[in-house]
């Protein structure tokens, strides 16, 4: 029941974030969606994810505000407003029809099928000695995923540094010449 109310709040905040004109207000409304998601994780019994989502959301807000500050341009409506909206809504509706077929095969809410996780829960403490089962899955049973995650993070950091720096250096060289 609480999760339904929280999801309604998140949907409301998402609509505000999409439809509001001011970019800074839009970014802050997106922060409301993320903080609601953090609360939802707490209700759904995932405290690790709640902590991580909270701090990641704050950092994400700082980065996005850096991108939007002082660059607030008015949004213009183009001439083909009706056509664009209709096409987009048709596509979203098509997606929802396929999603409805997928929903019928899902397990009921509150009764998961735990074929793999059954072993992890039963033998996790003896095999790894960690009381936090999420940590034992992330860092022992499925540690290759974490290795891939570290690689992706490294690549993203290198990508940001390359995108930000490279053109600046070329321009500086041009200025010197």
């Amino acid at each position: 029941m609480e999760i339904n109310l929280l999801l309604l709040f998140m949907i409301f905040a998402a609509i505000v974030a999409v439809e509001i004109e001011d970019l800074l207000s839009s970014v802050i409304a997106m922060g409301a969606v993320g903080l609601g998601l953090s609360l939802a994780f707490l209700i759904l019994k995932a405290p690790d994810l709640a902590i991580t989502q909270l701090v990641v959301e704050i950092l994400c807000l700082i980065i996005l505000i850096r991108a939007t500050i002082n660059k607030d341009l008015p949004l213009v409506k183009d001439g083909r407003w009706l056509f664009n909206t209709t096409a987009t809504l048709t596509f979203v509706g098509l997606f929802l029809i396929f999603a409805y077929f997928a929903l019928k095969d899902l397990p009921q809410f509150g009764a998961p099928i735990m074929r793999v996780a059954k072993d992890y829960i039963a033998s996790g403490l003896e095999k790894t000695g960690a009381a936090n089962l999420v940590a034992s899955v992330v860092l022992d049973f499925r540690v290759y995923d974490t290795l891939g995650e570290a690689t992706v993070l490294f690549t993203a950091a290198i990508g940001v540094l390359a995108v930000i720096r490279k053109v600046g250096r070329i321009n500086a060289n041009k200025k010197n010449e």
């Binding site: 339904n4 994780f41 759904l44 690790d48 403490l125 899955v137």
Partner: protein
């Protein structure tokens, strides 16, 4: 079942934002909302009614624990989402630097 449907509604709002809006920052926000919806969907599948958090205590009671596997996968997904958002923001700042606009149709017009 209503939880799944509301989560799909959140996803469609993000999809609408990505497809319809023309401002790059709005598109980044739409991508973020889609990411939140997908993470929430995976955790909703893992939930068990009246379940306990997947952290053992000294009573050694392993009954009725929620599924820890999707939680572990979403944990990595959240951090990767932050890194990807930072990368897109860097590219958006660079685009603003070059074209002095966030409007994607203007950028396409200037290209050729």
């Amino acid at each position: 079942m209503s939880e799944y449907i509301l989560c799909l509604g959140l996803f469609s709002i993000g999809l609408y934002c990505v497809l319809r809006k023309r401002n790059i920052i709005k598109i980044i926000i739409g991508l973020g909302i889609i990411e939140y919806a997908v993470n929430l969907f995976l955790i909703l599948i893992a939930y068990r009614t009246h379940g306990r958090a997947p952290i053992l205590d000294k009573a050694q009671d392993t009954l009725n624990i929620v599924d820890p596997l999707p939680q572990a996968l979403v944990l990595t997904s959240i951090v990767i989402g932050l890194a990807v958002t930072a990368l897109i923001v860097a590219i958006a700042i660079r685009i603003f630097e070059k074209y002095n606009t966030f409007d994607i149709t203007k950028i396409r017009r200037l290209r050729g």
